[in-house]
């Protein structure tokens, strides 16, 4: 096998169909970038999920005068007795690791601090609007529902919230984004495969004289097909290189920003970034090579 011969044939083939080659590379790059973006979001979401599942906490709001809850209205605000009993019961639960009582005053101070940059919101609220609550840390965060169920509806308990509900909305958004990216990616990949097929067909047509002679003098099928397959593979590779640029940019501009907004300590490592790039590249090269191969079987008689 003579490498120089094969390489020059590939170069000629790619240059001869320059416009088609550019179209192929662009389509492959976009589809792989979207595909890689989808993968990236996916691993980011699962990373964040893991992070938050470990830290999930429950907040139990106690009844106060303003609670709209029907039971609270009937029984009035939580009494000292209710509060003490609840705290004791919570501490007795094996799932619970820590219980912290937050008084209405503390909740108010905390609220003011947290929304210091939103003055209108602070002004519209006054002390006493915020109920006292328990912040419950869990031993095993996956069992938050059991704790939730056991205190739900008890005397003095208004409502229970956990971070999971809030986060699930956010994760839901990211999941939607991921599926949108992957769907578009697959449509684009299909288009890329067709484009490659067409390019290789043109290439095979413009080189039919050479391939005819090669066949006649007994060149092996592999040797005849190799330049075309490599032509496809190289287009895929170049597309993949562009795509990895997009992926790195997406990781830096999008995901890193999201993390700094939310103060998540879930920066994706270089390892998972490389993994995403690697998978996208391999997909691109494989797709192009297989598309070339299938085209050749139809258009290059061997």
């Amino acid at each position: 096998m003579r490498a120089q011969f094969v390489i020059s044939e590939i170069w000629i083939g790619l240059r001869r169909n320059l416009t088609m080659t550019i179209a192929v590379i662009t389509t492959v790059a976009i589809s792989l970038a979207l595909f890689g973006g989808g993968l990236l979001i996916n691993s980011q979401v699962s990373e964040m999920r893991k992070f938050w599942d470990e830290r999930i906490s429950i907040t139990i709001y106690l009844c106060n005068d303003l609670s709209p809850n029907k039971e609270c209205e009937e029984n009035g605000p939580a009494t000292k007795d209710d509060t003490n009993k609840l705290e004791a019961d919570l501490k007795a639960m094996p799932e619970v690791s820590d219980v912290q009582y937050v008084t209405a005053e503390e909740a108010w101070t905390d609220f003011q601090e947290r929304f210091a940059n939103n003055k209108a919101m602070v002004d519209a609220t006054q002390e006493g609007d915020l109920p006292a609550n328990f912040r419950v840390q869990l031993q095993d965060p996956t069992k938050y529902e059991q704790v939730q169920d056991s205190v739900q509806g008890r005397a003095g308990v208004d409502s229970i919230s956990n971070d999971k509900n809030v986060l699930d909305q956010f994760f839901g958004l990211l999941d939607g984004l991921k599926w949108a990216a992957l769907t578009v990616a697959f449509i684009q990949l299909a288009a890329a495969a067709l484009l490659i097929g067409n390019t290789i067909r043109l290439s095979a047509y413009s080189r039919r004289r050479e391939t005819g002679i090669m066949r006649l003098v007994g060149a092996s099928n592999f040797y005849i097909q190799l330049p075309f397959l490599l032509e496809g593979a190289i287009a895929g590779l170049i597309g993949g290189i562009f795509a990895s640029g997009f992926i790195v940019a997406a990781n830096y501009f999008l995901l890193s920003r999201i993390q700094s907004w939310f103060n998540f300590d879930t920066q994706l490592g270089a390892g998972s970034l490389l993994y995403v790039i690697g998978v996208s590249m391999i997909l691109g090269i494989l797709l192009c090579t297989v598309a070339s191969f299938l085209t050749l079987r139809r258009y290059l008689r061997v």
Partner: protein, 229 residues
Amino acid sequence: MIHFDTVTKGYPTQKRPALDSVSIAVEKGEFVFLVGPSGSGKSTFLRLVLKEEKPSKGRVHVAGKDLARLSNWKVPHLRRRIGCVFQDFRLLPNKNVFENVAFALEVIGKPRRFIRKVVPEVVELVGLEGKSDRMPDELSGGEQQRVAIARAFVNRPQILLADEPTGNIDPATSIGIMKVLDRINRTGTTVVMATHDAAIVDSMRKRVIELEEGHVVRDQSRGVYGQAY
């Protein structure tokens, strides 16, 4: 070297088979003319030898191999033992004489040193010494056909198939081409040449197989083209 045993070849779009129970034996070192009008089955015969087609019935043996039993991936190796020359030369226009001949060796993976040694010998054998650097469009038809013959012969095939090699060449030049083919035949290569050219067949006095509508109507050693044409 080439054995056809009651070979029939039909094409789906044609009622009459292109070859109808044809039995032909060509032995090693022979020079055979295949004559007959267009559509008599000459090209089909050559295509069957190359295993570009499969016979509908009967067996084809080439160079000791039963082609029906030859798996597809071994066909290239069969073709390395068969050189081919056509009426339309089929040279690569962007390669010079040397490169055109070398191409046949390059694509079957011969080492460069071997190519540099062998190609000039063959270029000289076909009478093109000193013209290695010429491009095909700088050569006459006869010279182009010599290049094609050199390319077909450079790998020293056991069989040389020529499909109307003088069809595009004037009679005077054709004689030169026939001398080259005769020279190749003298090296022990079996030559099968399909032709319409009565003058050439008559002057060479070689074995003549005449086909008509898919049948062998004449097989004669030291024959002539026949009075009908």
